[in-house]
């Protein structure tokens, strides 16, 4: 098999993934304010759209997508994550996004199959 090609095709490209995530954030949340009734739709919508786009890439990866939406109320937030995996093939991408009324953190972990 073409190892090089396969290596490229099977690498976790952070930029690609982050652009997918940002697009889905813009599409789902956009400029909306934080409304408690609608926020759950947004989180699930973001995750679904991200996963859909990621699977369309057709790469042999398992994806884990998490989405956190926090209202801008002046509170502070701190989060950390780490993985024990194969650093050569696996990768993660965390996207921090905000609009005027809320913060959003989307993490995508891609584990090569």
């Amino acid at each position: 098999m073409d190892d090089d090609q396969s290596a490229e095709e099977t690498a976790f490209v952070v930029d690609e993934v982050s652009s997918i995530v940002k697009e889905s954030l813009e599409a789902v949340i956009g400029r909306n304010t934080y409304e408690h009734k609608r926020v759950n739709q947004w989180t699930s919508g973001v995750v679904e759209q991200c996963l859909g786009q990621l699977s369309k890439l057709g790469k042999p990866f398992k994806y884990i997508v998490t989405c956190i939406i926090m209202q801008k109320n002046g509170a502070g937030l701190q989060s950390a994550s780490s993985c024990f995996w194969d650093n050569t093939t696996d990768g993660s991408c965390t996207v921090r996004w905000e609009n005027k009324h809320l913060y959003c953190i989307v993490s995508v972990f891609g584990l090569a199959i």
């Binding site: 699930s44 699977s55 926090m70 509170a75 937030l77 701190q78 994550s81 780490s82 993490s107 199959i113």
Partner: protein
């Protein structure tokens, strides 16, 4: 008939077509069904193939599981499923049959780890090549080292909520003594107490907080003597401030004046008020003459000579400016074909402006007409003037007035303002029957219509008279060493008569004070460093006159203060030579014309401009001193002239 048959034929054809279409549809459906049947059978077989492959992979996986590999590399175990998401994980349908194998989302979610479930759920890798990959990857050196990744941290800073906390301390109400005696005592006590407090504070460096006074204490203070005195004084000042904008701090008792006399006077004496300049008409022209209107004290007329840069513009321009309003454009604009060397308002005719020109013509403008050119002009003939006219003056009374003009060839003409076609009388000013006087300036003493004084280009000054046995040039006054540029007779009216005095300015850098009774100057003012172009006595103050020189300096001399130096002096902005100076009729403003076409108006301070009643007597004494000094110095050639 034919139509009907045609219609029928068409209907039949359509029916046939419909039947054909139906048959075709049926056939297609049957074919599809057959195909489906076939495909199903194939799929079944495919399924069986798939199953076999899956079993092989399962076997492989199991083998790996058995092999002594680190327990990490285990068949990927399904941990948890989230029901919602799994719907979307169905891969693109490879064949319709695969759809029939419904995604075991619900069924598979809870099932334990089985190879079967693994097989069922691994639907997206039905492609054999992918399976191969899987096998290889599982087989091969996928036992690579696993390591920990970098820790991804995310944080959002909390916003600092800025809160303000304000405390108010209500004053602790002290027990108020009910009797007044107690209050007085407390007041008296408070006086020594603050002293003690101060001592304490100085010793202990404590802060003394000012306590808020009670209403009774406030009332007490308000009625106290000190306060009433202060309040009384302040009320007066405040009332003055609110009503006026002059010096409110003036102390009539004179205590302040003694200390600051010199400084105060110098500061406010001569201040710039405004200037008049017109871009079009005054530019590049010299102001040759100025005059204030006797009827309207705010009107000022200025005459200008040629503008060499604009040959197509008229040579002579006369502008009437208005002091009352802030506008920067002249009230009236007049011109004529020759440079206007002297100008004046007609004394008893408020609408007329008279100008003497370089060509010898006298021009008369009327502001009632809309014309900018003169309404009347004297003829250019030998009967009138043929030389530049530097002096124009209207003398007389309301009913009997004449315009007196003198040109530089020594000719004096007297005109009636109604008829300028020929002079009423004319006279040659000749001295000693031989030498015509080249007159540059002329002045009439106050309320004198017959006698006047003239200054000449040679530096001599003459008296002259219009009528009488001694008509013509009278005495000669010799003293200046250069052409006399300006002459002014004393015109302040007061208890003492100084109308015999006149001053002259000259190119010899000096200004001289003369009396008509002596043919030598009484005094010579030698403070200037350039040609002195004009001099004029104040119309109200007996001892005050103004001079202008070529350095741009405007000087005010108050002879009651100093005779050696001017009492006030200012250099006009730009430093252009100043050609003319004219006091306003009130004696509070001075108009100065310069060589660039600007007219500057200066305000003269009250201390300087307004005379006190004793100024006249003071001036008389000053004159006596001057005469006494001069008498000591120069005795030669002084002729006492008959008055």
């Amino acid at each position: 008939m034919a139509d009907r048959s045609d219609l029928k034929a068409e209907l039949e054809r359509k029916k046939q077509r419909l039947a054909q279409i139906r048959e075709e549809k049926k056939r297609r459906e049957e074919e599809r069904k057959k195909k489906e049947m076939l495909q199903r059978t194939e799929n079944v077989s495919e399924d069986s193939d798939l199953d076999r492959k899956r079993r092989e992979t399962e076997a492989l996986l199991q083998s790996i599981g058995i092999s002594p590999e680190p327990p990490l590399v285990q068949p990927l175990q399904l941990l948890t499923w989230d029901t919602c998401y799994f719907h979307y994980l169905v891969p693109t349908p490879m064949s319709p049959s695969s759809q029939s194998v419904s995604p075991p989302s619900e069924t598979g979610s809870q099932e334990s780890i089985d190879g079967g479930t693994v097989g069922r759920t691994l639907q997206w890798d039905t492609d054999p090549s992918a399976l191969q990959l899987l096998a290889d990857s599982v087989h091969g050196c996928r036992m690579q080292r696993l390591g920990a990744s970098k820790i991804v941290q995310i944080d959002f800073m909390p916003k600092e909520l800025v809160t303000y906390c304000k405390e108010t301390q209500t004053p602790v109400a002290s027990d108020q003594p009910e009797e007044e005696e107690d209050e007085e005592l407390s007041v008296t006590k408070s006086e020594p107490v603050p002293q003690q407090l101060e001592e304490e504070s100085s010793q202990e460096a404590e802060e003394v907080h000012p306590r808020e006074l009670t209403n009774e204490e406030k009332e007490q203070i308000v009625h106290s003597e000190d306060f009433l005195f202060f309040f009384d004084r302040s009320i007066r000042v405040m009332e003055r401030v609110l009503a006026e904008d002059t010096d409110i701090f003036f102390d009539y008792s004179g205590r302040d004046m003694q200390d600051k006399e010199g400084d105060m006077q110098a500061g406010s004496n001569l201040s710039f008020n405004r200037h008049f300049y017109d871009e079009h008409w005054s530019k590049h022209r010299v102001v040759t003459s100025l005059d204030w209107s006797p009827q309207y004290p705010e009107l000022l007329v200025a005459s200008y000579n040629t503008n060499e840069d604009a040959p197509h513009e008229p040579d002579g321009v006369v502008l009437v400016w208005n002091m009352k309003f802030k506008k920067m454009t002249p009230e009236y604009i007049f011109h004529c074909q020759s440079s206007v060397m002297s100008v004046g308002f007609a004394q008893f005719h408020p609408n007329l402006v008279i100008g003497g020109t370089y060509s010898g013509q006298i021009a008369l403008w009327d502001n009632r007409s809309h014309r900018r050119t003169p309404v009347q002009r004297t003829p250019l003939s030998a009967t009138a003037h043929t030389h530049p006219v530097y002096c124009v003056n209207v003398v007389g009374t309301q009913n009997a007035n004449n315009l007196i003009t003198v040109s530089t060839d020594g000719k004096m003409c007297s005109w009636s303002l109604d008829m300028l076609s020929q002079p009423q009388e004319s006279m040659e000013l000749i001295y000693n029957k031989s030498k015509p006087v080249a007159v540059t300036c002329m002045a009439f003493p106050a309320s004198d219509v017959n006698n006047y004084v003239v200054g000449s280009e040679e530096g001599t000054v003459y008296t002259a008279s219009r009528h009488g046995s001694k008509a013509g040039i009278g005495e000669m006054f010799d003293g200046h060493q250069g052409p006399v540029t300006g002459i002014s007779c004393h015109n302040a009216v007061g208890p003492v008569d100084f109308s015999h005095l006149f001053t002259t300015s000259s190119f010899d850098w000096t200004v001289k004070l003369w009396s008509t009774k002596h043919n030598k100057p009484l005094y010579s003012f030698e403070d200037n460093a350039d040609y002195v172009y004009d001099v004029m006595w104040s119309p109200v103050h007996p001892a005050l006159f103004a001079t202008v020189d070529g350095n741009g300096r405007l000087d005010l001399w108050n002879l009651n203060n100093y005779t050696e130096v001017p009492s006030a002096s200012v250099t006009v902005e730009g430093g252009c030579a100043l050609n003319r100076v004219r006091w306003a009729s009130g004696g509070r403003e001075v108009a100065v014309g310069d060589s660039e076409g600007r007219v500057w108006i200066y305000d003269v301070g009250e201390q300087l401009a307004v005379p006190h009643t004793d100024d006249w007597s003071k001036f008389a004494r000053t004159l006596m001193e001057i005469r006494a000094n001069r008498g000591d110095g120069e005795e030669e050639g002084v002729l006492e002239l008959p008055a």
